[in-house]
């Protein structure tokens, strides 16, 4: 682990990042969370654990992922050079697998035989089902009934991998409800079950642990970028739902004062419309799913339904470390609308031959705007957190295209 400035060295021993984070769970889960924190503390101090993790990332995930200079995209923006950290090239197609590889090793170390996970877009569910298959562990993935409809291909992938996908019919039938249901499962089956949370939220130690696993993104990017250009990027850009790909990229650069950072939330149909998923831009601090953080809640403290074209950003909370980095003014949190993300999705596809995930398209939308206002010799590094194969059906449906053999093919 690289050294960090004191303000960025969180969380403290009880899992707090300033006023955020913590352990807000029912009593039944307290011991499980404490045992997890203790097990992770032990392993995190053991170089052999990290050697095993690194070996899996190299041989199974295919790391390091390259950085790529998007020359045609940069030229189209007419400003700074735009570089992409290619997490889309990872096994299973997104950054999510960095975390599930790490947590699966931990689960096995703790002697747990049953994995559970929540998923929104299905990427974390697929990444969990994947590591479960590899280690021969039973796997149950909770997924909102709404999301099951939106992300049918990923549901089938999980089933192929041997996982049981459990449809969650309560509440708004999306990611937050899947997380509630996973917490209920964990409380019920706490003896043999390991809960793989997919982002840097949840009770301590998840925000820290998931960050540590995802920091491979930023560590690699820092080395790769220095080697290529002899300097650090002027700005980093990443999308923020729960915020795991963003913290993974940002964290190893936090002490580098010259590197500006932008976390891009989902503005949905516009922040003013109320139909979005941007708690850091338009929410307030509160407590949900085990931690204190910025949340989308009404004046009575009820959690609001969210909207984003991207199922992976469609969550009313955000990791507590992001809440703290916002308050510290270290990272600027901005937002991109559905329409802006879709435009960026097409732009990267046409100019670079890379189909980005709709989540990552939010980061691209902001980066292209940012680039236009910067100098040509400046550099922006964007985390291309996932590939868009999973989204092509949804994009076709949104745009009224005929998703089939007749569209766009000259007869």
């Amino acid at each position: 682990m690289p050294e960090r400035e004191a303000a960025f060295s969180g969380p403290d021993e009880s899992g707090h990042f300033g006023p955020y984070g913590g352990v807000f769970v029912g009593e039944t889960l307290i011991r499980a969370v404490a045992e997890l924190a203790a097990a992770y503390d032990r392993l995190a101090g053991d170089p052999r654990f990290w050697q095993g993790f690194d070996a899996d990332l190299a041989d199974y995930v295919g790391r390091p992922s390259p950085i790529y200079l998007a020359e045609r995209l940069s030229a189209a923006c007419g400003g700074a050079r735009i570089w992409l950290k290619r997490e889309d090239l990872n096994h299973t197609g997104a950054h999510k697998v960095n975390n599930t590889v790490g947590q699966a090793l931990l689960a096995r170390h703790m002697g747990k035989t049953r994995l559970i996970a929540e998923t929104g877009a299905g990427q974390h569910g697929v990444a969990s089902a994947t590591v479960a298959a590899r280690l021969g562990l039973e796997c149950h993935v909770y997924m909102g009934a709404e999301d099951i409809v939106r992300q049918a291909p990923n549901v089938y992938r999980m089933k192929l991998l041997g996982a049981e996908v459990v449809a969650v019919e309560s509440g708004s039938r999306t990611l937050k409800d899947a997380m509630n249901e996973a917490l209920r499962d964990w409380a019920t089956n706490v003896d043999n079950t390991y809960y793989i949370i997919g982002t840097v939220a949840g009770p301590h130690p998840y925000p820290r642990m998931v960050r540590d696993f995802q920091c491979v993104i930023g560590r690699e990017a820092r080395e790769q970028f220095s080697a290529r250009t002899g300097a650090l990027p002027d700005a980093l850009v990443a999308c923020v739902g729960g915020g795991s790909n963003a913290i993974g990229l940002f964290h190893p650069f936090l002490a580098d004062g010259g590197v500006a950072m932008y976390g891009v939330e989902a503005a949905g149909r516009g922040l003013a419309s109320g139909e979005h998923a941007a708690p850091l831009n338009a929410g307030r601090p509160g407590v949900l799913h085990g931690n204190r953080t910025y949340l989308m809640s009404d004046e009575h403290g009820q959690i609001l339904d969210t909207h984003s074209v991207s199922a992976g950003l469609d969550y009313p909370g955000v990791g507590p470390e992001h809440a703290w980095l916002k308050d510290l003014d270290r990272v600027r949190y901005v937002a991109a609308t559905d329409a802006e993300a879709l435009a960026a999705f097409h732009q990267l596809t046409r100019l670079e031959g890379i189909i980005p995930a709709l989540e990552s398209s939010h980061a691209l939308a902001w980066a292209t705007r940012l680039a236009a206002g910067m100098e040509r010799e400046q550099n922006i590094l964007v985390n291309l957190s996932g590939r868009g194969d999973k989204d092509i059906e949804a994009v076709a449906r949104l745009e009224g295209a005929d998703f089939g053999i007749n569209s766009g093919i000259r007869q």
Partner: protein, 284 residues
């Protein structure tokens, strides 16, 4: 002595088991909740736990989740719950009232305002499911300053060291979660509940009541032998779910929903009055 402590002490003295029903405030609407609360007290509830509806009740099973959804659909919120408490208190000056819920609505209202409003409404105790003592901030002190009891949960997974710490922070009664899981699931075996509660008894004189998974007179009697009392939530909420809509409701429908609590009351009293009373482990 707080209303809760007084109620528990009187029950102990007379060798009677505490019976504490739980209902979701505003399920299906606030007027019905008020009628249910009055009826519950009339059929023998010693105290009432009033659930604060929250959009993400992650420690609750399906029955209470649906109750919460019904309440939210009818527009329930924390201010309405406090108003319901105040109206109940106007009608019933005796039965202790405990608010049970999740932290976010309280956090958004603000701890100081919440504690003040609880005191004005005549609330006697507060239990926040997802707020362990270590994360409670100044809420316990604000409640204590207004004479409101702080109730915390102890579960089968709670370590001895932690149970002692929880006891330090608890007043009113200690809520023993009888199972690993969510509200309304199946009970743990009697033996392990007995062992765990005997352990708690060694550390505190606080009344210990058992909740999560008590469905009927049979389970209530079995569990009551091990503790000072029992909490019945999901089973009651399921009966409330079957209430006809307000406009087509007959005068005795509310009574039918609460009849479960009346029958449990009679079963508990029969046990306490019977020959087995001396073997119950209850202190004089």
């Amino acid at each position: 002595m707080s209303r809760i402590a007084g109620c528990a002490a009187a029950a102990r003295e007379s060798g009677r088991s505490l019976l504490i029903p739980y209902l979701v405030a505003g399920d299906p609407d606030l007027e019905t909740s008020l009628a249910l609360m009055v009826e519950l007290a009339a059929v023998g509830a010693d105290m009432i736990e009033l659930g604060i509806p929250f959009s993400d009740p992650s420690a609750d099973g399906p029955a209470i989740q649906r109750g919460v959804e019904r309440a939210l659909a009818a527009g329930a919120n924390l201010r309405g719950v406090l108003e319901l408490a105040r109206r109940f208190r106007e009608l019933d000056g005796e039965t202790p009232l405990v608010l049970m819920g999740y932290l976010n609505p309280i956090e958004i209202m603000g701890y100081a305002e919440f504690a003040g409003e609880c005191a004005l409404a005549g609330v006697d105790g507060v239990l926040v499911v997802d707020m362990p003592p270590g994360e409670a901030g100044d809420l316990p002190a604000l409640l204590a300053a207004r004479g409101i009891d702080r109730i915390f949960l102890v579960s089968p997974t709670t370590t001895a060291e932690r149970a002692k710490e929880i006891i330090e922070h608890t007043s009113g009664y200690l809520y023993y979660v009888s199972l690993k899981g969510v509200t309304g699931a199946a009970l743990d075996d009697r033996e392990s509940v007995a062992v765990n509660i005997a352990r708690l008894r060694g550390w505190t004189d606080l009344p210990v009541v058992i909740g999560f998974g008590i469905k009927d007179a049979g389970t209530a009697v079995a569990m009551s032998e091990l503790a000072d009392g029992v909490i019945i939530g999901s089973a009651l909420v399921e009966r409330i779910a079957r209430l006809p809509p307000t406009q087509s409701r007959r005068s005795d429908d509310v009574g039918e929903a609460t009849a479960l609590i009346g029958s449990v009351r009679r079963a508990l009293d029969a046990r306490c009055g019977g020959a087995g009373a001396s073997e119950t482990g209850k202190r004089p």
